[in-house]
Amino acid sequence: MVIGSGPIVIGQAAEFDYAGAQACRALREEGVSVVLVNSNPATIMTDVEMADRVYIEPLTPAFLTKIIAREKPDGLLPTLGGQTGLNLATELATRGILDDYNVKLLGTPLRAITRAEDRQRFRKLMRQIGEPVPESWIVEKDGELVELSRQSGLPWPLIVRPAYTLGGSGGGVAHTPEELIEIGQRGMRLSPRHQVMVERCLVGWKEIEYEVMRDANDTCITICNMENLDPMGVHTGDSIVVAPSQTLSDKEYQMLRSASLKIIRSLGIEGGCNVQLALDPKSFGYYVIEVNPRVSRSSALASKATGYPIARVASQIAIGLHLDEIPNRVTGKTLACFEPALDYCVVKIPRWPFDKFTSADRRITTQMKATGEVMALDRSFESALMKAVRSLEVGANSLRYKGASQWSDMEIESLLTTPTDERLFAIAEAFRRGLMIEEVAGLSGYDPWFLHKIRGIVQMEKRLRDHAADLNRDEAAGLLTEAKGLGFTDRTIAELTGRTERDIRALRTSLGITATYKIVDTCAAEFEATTPYYYSCYDREDER
């Protein structure tokens, strides 16, 4: 039996249909008969072709119990239906319903799930295995707050967040005991439960994620690592994310990879898991932020970014297969037991609903607000970024954003400092106005490497404008090639040079500047691929 994730809500979108559909297919290929439950019929997983028995019923313990009683499944796969599926499975297990009907929980054991999900137990485990977690305190009374503020050796600054408020509003960063008391008291007043969470402030640290897998034989691999452009403080679902990481040396990459593997081992996960880490941009210091002991939005992204089908393999692991017994479906020759090598850059940008919800608070924080996301691949970061931007359908065909030129300098500064859906465009506008990389880095916390790339895009806007007149000359070929390599569309080039999109297309085609297509093959061309997918670029060889 597989439990889906129910309706699409912010934080749980189509990724679980993808995961569930893959799981159903993988299980049936292994000869397992699948009972599928989900309340959301707008999914592929609830197609009668996908599972042997499909139930579209409410996802509550009571209804699931009825289905279990009726179907008497041998096993329940809990880790593919998002937090909804996982919570339901946990509840069915703790209520004894799984035992009553002799249903085995497949894949990651319940013990591992609770260890990862229960804050206190997770922190304890991390301390046992020597993995650092940020210090934190829960405060509910003024007295406790005062007591905390007097403690010596507190890791200042501290971030204070009121609990159970929407969007975590009303919190702040405290640098002194006085500020801690002031912000803490305000936070408690704002919290419906008069509770605040005080934590070591990691704002400005790099946020890095690893997608890892483990089988019952304790073989562990990492599928992908990802670097958030937005530093800590923004939910990863609301961050612009790049894969693989771009600014980590091998030492840092391996340090965090090893930590992730150590964590998945210590938890005893059998299947996939997502590990989020915060890395100090100025030392080897890092903290473990969170672990998702299940297939997640990040794993869907990692699957598409690498070609490695995480949900499918996790399902196969759940029924007892080992990683070295599962074929790699993309190459057809090698096994699922390896780590994908990327030879392109992947950029994900969240899609926020602020175009519909004009009154909504556009600030993005630790509470996710995006309804969806887009992904783009290319050989250059710039082009992957530009493709992702135009995939968003927010009226931007490049980093030129409607209204950006009307922003005051003050507004830009505030847009850089306070993350919103418009920050990327504000960064570009800041460079248009001549701000230095160091200034923008200081305000936004973006790594200078990314900023350098974004500034390069902005500089190309100017270069195209400057060469508007002599675009037909031979020398322009180099400029056009460069612009296409950076992801400029014909339309943007046309706008910048005062021509039509059709003109530019004709011009560049005549110069032989056309898109080529490369393959996502999980292995950076080391092996041949049989079921590949393609992305465009302006590189030499076309593989299509």
Partner: protein, 364 residues
């Protein structure tokens, strides 16, 4: 400035020069690791090779003073898709471009490295030449005239230390004393040993068994290194004698091949080698798989090893090639990949402990 990369099969790729200006030639190989270019560049096992990285964005985190694996840049040339014009990392001290200039290594950027990799995958590795100051015709001419193919050169002699040296704690602080046969050692092997209390004496590859064993080391370590093991008869002889002494011996990479040869095995050249940080290796005893860092162009033919006491302990999951050997009676084992990582995953670092444990047991 323009630069060209020419191949023995007549292919010519045009790119932009970086690093030093000039000319070079070598066997063109690809590495699929996504990080660790500085370690790759300074790894002696890449001597004589023009290395291309399949990851397209290179130089992002610059170059630092720590992540070097030998005293110089070893590659014959460096080929990338996009050299980052800037770098960003707290440890970085200079750009990759400046680093290569300083070490006088020719680089080329703006190459479709995926095309290049696919070519090498189809045709196998081949000789290539790189230049910033020749016409394509001159370049091909030089490539044709290039007398020594990669496989004909004893690269080990070129990269090994001219004289023995010591790495690690002072004698009185050392828990172990290791002798290492340097066929192209990476510093991180010495660092890993030192971190575990071992003081390592590094001997030139041409050292005799007597020299190596003279100071009665606790164990002997056979390092990785470049080139065809068939040219290393002298080292194989040394290894035979060292193994015969009954000392604990651990070999990695070329060291694995030397041991295989010492046990009567033969080696063969892989079509395009194993170079990267994602190679799955299965331990035949536990059934467990580790992801390994690899860099080798030759492999042992497992069936060729005559000695019945020698068993293959590990295999590569991708192509089934030999990844580890063990002698059933002697304290001798080896692996084909790099437990010292650098670059790459550190999952198999436990082999250093295993080696030192064998030494401990022998001491008791």
């Amino acid at each position: 400035m323009k630069a060209y990369l020419a191949f023995a099969d007549g292919t010519l790729l045009e790119g932009i020069s970086f690093g030093a200006e000039g000319r070079s030639a070598g066997e063109v190989v690809f590495n699929t690791g996504m990080t660790g270019y500085q370690e790759v560049l300074t790894d002696p096992s890449y001597a004589g090779q023009i290395v291309t990285l399949t990851y397209p964005l290179i130089g992002n985190y610059g170059v630092n003073v720590d992540d070097i694996e030998s005293r110089r840049v070893q590659v014959a040339g460096f080929v990338v898709h996009e050299l980052s014009p800037t770098f960003s990392n707290w440890r970085a001290s200079e750009s990759l471009d400046a680093f290569l200039k300083r070490h006088n290594i020719v680089g080329i950027t703006g190459i479709d490295t995926r095309e290049l990799t696919r070519r090498l995958r189809h045709h196998g590795v081949m000789m290539g030449a790189l230049s910033t100051n020749e016409t394509p015709e001159e370049l091909f001419e030089r490539l044709r005239a290039h007398t020594s193919a990669y496989d004909d050169v004893d690269w080990v002699r070129r990269v090994t230390t001219p004289e023995a040296y010591v790495w690690g704690p002072e004698k009185r602080d050392a828990k172990y004393r290791i002798a290492l046969l340097d066929c192209g050692v990476k510093y991180n092997i010495l660092r890993e040993l030192a971190d575990r209390g071992a003081r390592t004496t590094v001997f030139p590859a041409t050292a005799t068994a007597q020299e190596i064993l003279a100071d009665d080391p606790d164990g002997v370590f056979l390092s990785p290194g470049p080139g065809d093991p068939n040219l290393l008869g002298y080292a194989v002889d040394t290894v035979k004698q060292v193994v015969g002494s009954g000392k604990p011996v651990m070999g990695i990479c070329l060291g694995n091949q030397l041991l295989g040869c010492a046990f009567g095995g033969t080696t063969f050249k892989l079509p395009f080698g194993h170079r990267g940080a994602n190679h799955p290796v299965k331990d035949l005893t536990s059934g467990r798989v580790v992801i390994t860092s690899q860099n080798h162009g030759y492999a042992i033919d497992g069936d060729s090893i005559g000695d019945p006491n020698v068993e293959v302990t590990q295999i590569n999951l991708n192509d089934g090639t030999v990844e580890g050997l063990r002698h059933r009676e002697l304290p001798v084992f080896s692996i084909q990949y790099h437990p010292e990582a650098s670059p790459g995953p550190t999952d198999s670092r436990f082999f250093f402990e295993q080696f030192l444990k064998v030494i401990e047991e022998r001491k008791r």
